[in-house]
Amino acid sequence: MRLGALRILPLLMAAGFIGLALALWSDAVSTGLFVAWVNEIMLFILALILLQYGFRLFFRRREPRPGSFLRARLVIAMVGMLVVPSLAIQWSASQMVERGMDVWFDMRVDTLLERALKLAQGFYDRIDLEMKRSLEAYADDPALAEAVDGGSSFGQASDHLAEILRKEGWERVQLFDINERLVADVRKDGLLDLVTAPLSEAARLSMRLGNVTTEIISENGAEKAVGYAPIHGSKGGVGLLRVELKLPQGVIQSARLVEADYQSYRSLEHNRRMIKDLFVHVMLLVTLLTVLAASLIAVLFARRLTSPIGELAVALRRVTEGDLDVVVPESSQDELGSLARSFNQMAHRLRANARDIEQAQRALTEALANSRQRQFILETLLANLHTGVVLVDEQGKIRLLNQSLKEILPQAGDWKPGLVLLQGCVGRLGFLGEFHASLRERGELQQQFELAGRHGITHILVRGTRLKLSGMAEFAGELIMIDDITELVNAQRSQAWAEVARRLAHEIKNPLTPIKLSAERLQRRFRKQVDDRDVFDSCTQAIITQVERLQRLIADFSSLARMPRPRLKRVRIADVMHEMQELFNAYANVSIAVPDPAMECLCDDDQVRQVLINLVDNALAAAGSSQVRVYVRSRDDVIEWHVEDDGPGIPDEVREHIFEEYFSTKSSGSGLGLAIARRIAEDHGGRLLLVSARKPTHFCLQLPRESMVREG
């Protein structure tokens, strides 16, 4: 049965009870049976209880309590099992009563009783008829009329009445005058009464109306027929003759029994419907009481049965919601009690499991946090490490690499975890594949490589070691670390050259001055004495010129060796560019663009000016009459000083060496100009770049806007 049908079932049952009560109301009113009213009251009470329950159920919106649905079904089933047979029994019983009544009130019984009553009535009718006939005969009796008129004595009248009594066989004969005074009185046996009883209403009516009449009087269980006849005297007097006839006791008793039986029968017949109603109502009462008792027992039984189930359902719901501390009472020892015990054991195990899971989860969370922390530290370390790191597994696949690797090796920009290292080591990166192969064989390796790039040669230091981790994180592979040591190599080389220059300057500079002075003295003193003055002049001049060249060279060496630290100050770039304009004013093919006067840079303006002059000198030397352009750009936190020329450009084979010390393509050059310029740029925290080798030949000096002076 569905819940919706269950909701309206009490209302339907209540409607049924009310309908039944209303149908039986008229019966109760007409019969007045107490049991009928009891039934009515019970029906209404049941209907009201059901109505109240039904309305409460119908308007209830919240979910019913667990077990209520099962309880309702149990009650309905149990009551239904009782109601159906009860109704069948009631119907059968009422049919039996109906049939039985048809038999009881059979027509033959009716006829028999009717005839018996008529027989009894015939006896009374005959007595009445004979008495009236006799009395009518005596109504005109002259002796009685004379006695009424007072014409005869008491004795004469009594004698005449005695004669009548004897003749008619009556029990008593009395004669009254108009004033109801006793004139004469005779009776068959016994003594006369001293006090005469007053006349009855019927006697008075007979005397007044002049009719002969009779009546039956019962006395002490016996009956007597009493007759009255008016006597009219000749003198106008009126009297009353009263006679009594004692009815035979046996006949009277039989007749009265017949009458009683007849009345009982008629009463039963009259109340036939009421008897049937009584039976029906008694049966209905029994049925209602049975249903009520059964309902109460069913409710109690169902409540007792479903209460543990409801408690279990509530407990299950709480367990479903996560409350594992629920405990179901184990009240009984039956299957439900066993179920409750099993549930409690299950809840206990769930609690224990949940506790274990919680502990494990906590440990796992902690481990995960530690792992994440370690991973985070490792990732941060790798990200901030200037050394390029790549981890290769046993299959030669990259498992891990950091950003520094891609910055050191721009060719590895598209590397990612999962890539086979050998597939990535193509072109200029071929050395790394060879290194990895060697590493696999040796287990640990360190090599230095030189990579030619657009901005010159890059020195790479590659170190590798073979990893063999055991335990939970079982791993086998190689860890390769790559460092860009270009600056270190350059610094070492500069240091070496500086040392050489310092020693050379120290050893060569001292004798050059006496040589030059001696050559000049020779020229002044012995010029007039020599034969071939031209040869003398050219030789001495050559000595002086070469000594001067050596002095300049030594000066360059000295400046490289003793490069002073830049003295930084806030410099207006426009001022520097104005000075450059004035300096190269004589060159028509040099165009110098002056930037916004507000543009400033924190730098040593003398050193910057030295770099620019060097670059412009180189451009003029290479470009000849071609155009040379100098301009400044500001980008983010960098000031860029650009020098371009439209000359023939720098050959490819020279390009890689132009920033090296003592490399020069000019016969008179020291090969230190660009090296010093680059040294100045690096001392400022910037760099000097060859942007383009030809068309145009383009150098760019990048200096930080704010101070980034490199520590000595």
């Binding site: 009113v29 009201l48 109240q52 006896f123």
Partner: protein
């Protein structure tokens, strides 16, 4: 608002329906009722519009018929319960004597018994109250309004006894009359 309406429906509607049904079922019949006065006594005339055929047939079948007249006179009061002045119960019974073909009339209130030959007399004895002395006028207050309620219960055969008779057995006849005492 909806909740109180729901509560009204759930708790009071069934009882209201029940009491309405009972009240409807117990509604009084209206019939002619008349009073008469002389200097000392207020008399009452009432007639039960009985099913004459049913009563006569019952009597002819030899079954006793008993009627119980109940006369209640009360003084009407506006702000208090009515004051009962008179409460009279008259029990009359007609017992057929099938053998002598007479009807024995019994007034159980007074103990008077007589017999008549005519059924009409017996019927009138049962169905009519003629000039029945109701109350001594000395008990009534002049100018006051009085309510007379007359009801009748009839029984074929055995008469229902006990206090619950009037509760369980509805009246076969009832009438009400108000009058002002001069």
């Amino acid at each position: 608002m909806l909740g109180s309406f729901s509560t009204l429906l759930r708790w009071w509607l069934p009882w209201a329906m029940a009491f309405s049904a009972i009240g409807f079922a117990l509604a009084d019949e209206k019939d002619a009722l008349r009073i008469d006065r002389d200097e000392l006594v207020v008399y009452c005339d009432a007639t039960w519009p009985a099913d004459a055929a049913h009563v006569s047939e019952t009597l002819r079948s030899g079954i006793d018929v008993t009627v119980i007249w109940h006369l209640a006179l009360s003084r009407s009061r506006q702000y208090w319960l009515d004051e009962k002045v008179a409460d009279i119960e008259i029990v009359r019974r007609v017992r057929p004597d099938l053998l002598s073909r007479r009807w024995i009339l019994e007034d159980r209130s007074t103990g008077i018994m007589r017999s008549v030959n005519r059924l009409e007399e017996a019927m009138a004895f049962l169905t009519e109250l003629r000039h029945y002395p109701l109350v001594d006028r000395s008990l009534l207050r002049s100018g006051q309004v009085y309510d007379l309620e007359v009801s009748l219960q009839s029984f074929d055969g055995k008469q229902m006894a006990g206090w619950w008779r009037r509760v369980l057995r509805g009246d076969d006849f009832s009438a009400r009359l108000s009058f002002r005492e001069p």
